[in-house]
C-alpha cells in the first residue's frame, strides 16, 4: 500500500472528506526501510501470515471444484484431477434455489445494517456528547443483551414475534440480528464520537450549528471509519447468523444462506457432503469479500484523516 497521509501543505483548506494524495512524508522512511535487510525478514513474515490465511480458502476452492467422490476421498487429494462444477450446481439448485436464499440473506443483512445505523448513531451521539442523566447506567443496560445468551431468548422472542405478526418476515429476523449487534454498535459509536476533538464541535456551535447539524457535518464525517466498521460487522453478523434464522423463518423460501448451507451438506447420520460444503463456503465468502473491498477505501481514508488531527 503506497498510501500516505495528506501533508499539511496538501490540498488547500481542510475538507472533511479526505483524499489520498499519494505524495507525502512517509516515502523516504519507506525507502530507508526497503534498503534494510530487516525488510526481507518482514516480507517473509508477511508472506507466511498471508499463506496461513489463504491456505484454507485456496483448499476450499480447489475442493469445491472436485467431483463429489473425489471431494470425500481419504486421504484427501490436494488438487482436483478434473474440474467439475457439480458441487456448485447442487448448491445452486438445492430446494428453493440459491438466488432465493441469497436474496433473503441480503435483504435481512441490509435491513440489519439500516436498523443498526439508525439506532446506534443517535444513541452513541447522545451518550457521547450530551449530559444525559445516569448515562453510565443507561450504557450498561444497552450492553445487557451482550451478556445474556440469546439462544435462551429465542422461545419468548418467537412467541412475541408471532403475536405481533413479525415471525416469518425479513423485518422480524433483522430486528433479532440488530439486537445482537446493537450493543457493540452503540459502544463503537459512543467511543468514536467521544474521540472527535471538542474544538471542532465548538467551532460548529460558534457558527450557529444546531446539534443535528453538528452531527451531520462534523461528527459523522469524522467518524466515517466507525460507521464503516459498524456496517461491516452488522453485515457479517447477519450474514452468518444461523439459529435465529432457522427458528424465526418457517418456510423454505424464507431461509437464509447459513440454514441452506447446513441443509445442503447433510446426509444420513450426519454424513457430510464435503464438495457441497466447500462450494457453499466459497459462495458465502464472496459477498463478505465484496462488501469489504467496497468499503475498504473509506476505512483507510478515514483512518488517515483522523491521524492528522
Amino acid at each position: 500500500m503506497s498510501a500516505s497521509p495528506r501533508s499539511m501543505h496538501g490540498a488547500g483548506p481542510a475538507r472533511l472528506a479526505p483524499r489520498l494524495s499519494g505524495r507525502g512524508s512517509l516515502r523516504p522512511t519507506l525507502r530507508r526501510a526497503f534498503a534494510s535487510p530487516r525488510l526481507y525478514l518482514f516480507s517473509a513474515l508477511c508472506i507466511v501470515i498471508m499463506a496461513l490465511m489463504l491456505f484454507p480458502i485456496v483448499m476450499s476452492l480447489l475442493a469445491s471444484l472436485k467431483t463429489s467422490a473425489e471431494a470425500s476421498a481419504v486421504p484427501p487429494h490436494y488438487f482436483p484431477s478434473a474440474i467439475s462444477f457439480e458441487n456448485y450446481a447442487r448448491v445452486f439448485h438445492y430446494q428453493a434455489g440459491l438466488p432465493t436464499y441469497l436474496f433473503n440473506s441480503l435483504a435481512v443483512a441490509f435491513m440489519t445494517i439500516a436498523l443498526c445505523l439508525l439506532l446506534a448513531v443517535p444513541a452513541g451521539y447522545g451518550l457521547a456528547c450530551f449530559p444525559v442523566p445516569a448515562k453510565e447506567a443507561i450504557f450498561l443496560v444497552l450492553l445487557l443483551s451482550l451478556m445474556a445468551p440469546y439462544q435462551a431468548l429465542l422461545t419468548p422472542l418467537h412467541r412475541l414475534f408471532t403475536s405481533l405478526g413479525l415471525a416469518n418476515t425479513y423485518l422480524g429476523l433483522a430486528i433479532v440480528h440488530t439486537v445482537l449487534q446493537l450493543p457493540f454498535s452503540v459502544y463503537l459509536m459512543r467511543n468514536s464520537f467521544e474521540a472527535v476533538p471538542k474544538e471542532l464541535a465548538e467551532a460548529a456551535v460558534m457558527d450557529g450549528a444546531k446539534s443535528f447539524q453538528a452531527l451531520w457535518w462534523i461528527f459523522l464525517p469524522a467518524s466515517l471509519p466507525s460507521l464503516v466498521t459498524l456496517t461491516l460487522f452488522a453485515f457479517i453478523t447477519s450474514w452468518n447468523e444461523f439459529i435465529a434464522a432457522l427458528i424465526f423463518m418457517n418456510r423454505e423460501t424464507g431461509f437464509t444462506m447459513p440454514v441452506m448451507l447446513v441443509g445442503v451438506r447433510q446426509g444420513h447420520f450426519g454424513a457430510v457432503d464435503w464438495g457441497a460444503v466447500q462450494a457453499g463456503v466459497i459462495i458465502s465468502i464472496l459477498p463478505c469479500l465484496l462488501i469489504y473491498l467496497l468499503l475498504q477505501k473509506y476505512y483507510v481514508s478515514g483512518f488517515l484523516n483522523g491521524a492528522i488531527k
Partner: protein
Amino acid sequence: MGVSKTLRRGILAAALSLAAALSSPSWAADSLTMWVRASGANAAQHLVDLWNSGHADKIALTVIPDNQVVSKLAIGVQSGDVPDVISFDLIYMPDFMRAGLLTDITDSMKGDPNFAKVAPAYAHLATYKDRLYGTGFTPDVSILIYNKDLFRKAGLDPDKAPTSLQQIHDDAKKIRALGPDIYGFYFSGSCPGCNIFTTSPMMVASGAKILPANGDEEPLAGTGVKEVLQLFRDMWSEGLIPKSAQTDNGANFAATFKTGKIGIQGSGGFIISDLKKDAPNLDFGLAFLPGVKEGQASAFVGGDVVAIPKGSKHSDIALAFIKWELTDEAQLEGLAKNNILPSRIDLAANKYFQADPRIVTTAKAIGIGYVPWVFHFNDMVNSDSSPWIQMIQTAVFDGKVDEAIAAAKAKMKEIADE
C-alpha cells in the same frame, strides 16, 4: 461533498430497505407447509412432487437441519406457529407423543386398509397409551455392505458376505493384507447415531437387549454386547480399522466406503443410491448385519415417520396426505421408483426393485429389524456424551470392555428412571 453524499446514499438505501421490510418473503398463499429433516428431504421431495401433480391443495416442503428439528418444533408448538404436517426421525416419536406435540389420528387411520400393511414397527412406535399419532413415511434400515472388488483381490468369494462376527474378523484380516491403505473394516467411532444404527443390531442379533423402556428394565442385557465390543476392540488393535475411525463423528459415515479402500462396513439402505451416484464403478454387495452365531441377523429400523403437529391449520388435508402416502401410487411411484424403500411390507418386492436384488435385501431387512420404543433416546444414545457412545469408545479405543459396559449400564438406568 464526498462524505455527505455517501451518507445520503446510505440513508436512502436504509429507507429503501426498510420499505422492503414491509414485504415478506414471497410464498404462495394457500399451500400447505410440511417440515422434513434434511437427510430425509430427497425422499420427501419425491412424494410431495407426486402429490402436487395430482391435487389442488399444494404442499410446500421446508427442510430443517437434522439436529434442529426437535427444538424448532418445540418452539413452534409453543408459539402456535407450526407446519400443517411434519416428518421426522422416528426415534423421537415417544418423546413427542408424551409431550403432547402431535395430533391423535387413531380414528381416521384404524379403518384404512393400507395402514394395516405398514411395517408393524411403525405402528408400534407411533402408539402412546393406545392412541395413534403417526405412521411410517420414508423408512431406512441398517445392513452390512462389502466391497466385492476387494473380496476378489483377497481371494474371498464376492457373492458370500460374512454371516457371523467371526467371519467379519477373518475377512477383514485378509483384506487388510492387500495394502497399506486398504482396510478390512470401518465404523464411525465418534458417531452415536451411526453405531446404534449399525453396531447395535449385531448385539441384538447375538441375543442382547440394548435400551430400557423404563427404569425397571435392564439396559445392555445379554452377552452379545460384550462379544461385539470385543470384536471391534480386536480389529482396532490389529490395525484392521483406519485410525480416522476414532474421530469420525459421522461426517465420513458414507464417504469412507466410497473411496473403495474399505472391505466391510455397517451402513443403511440409503447407501445404494448414494454409491450408484457418487462411486458408479464400485462393485459392492449387501447383506444382513450378523450376530455371533451363523444365521443370526438383525437390523435397526430407522427412517422417518409422518405426523400432524398440534395447531396445524389444515389438519384435514394433512390427514388426506398421510392416507395418500400409504396408497400403492405413492409407495410405488413416489418411493420405489426412486430406489427408496416403501413403508408397506407387502410392496417390498415390486417391479422397480427387480433390477437390483440389493434393494430387495434392504426391504427384507425391515422385516427382521428392531426399533426401540424409549423415552430420552437423545440422552441415552444420540447426544455426543451419551453412555452409549462412551461405552463404545472406552471399550474399542481404550480396551476396557467390561468397565465400559458397567458404566454405561449404570448411566442408562439413571436416565431411564427420570
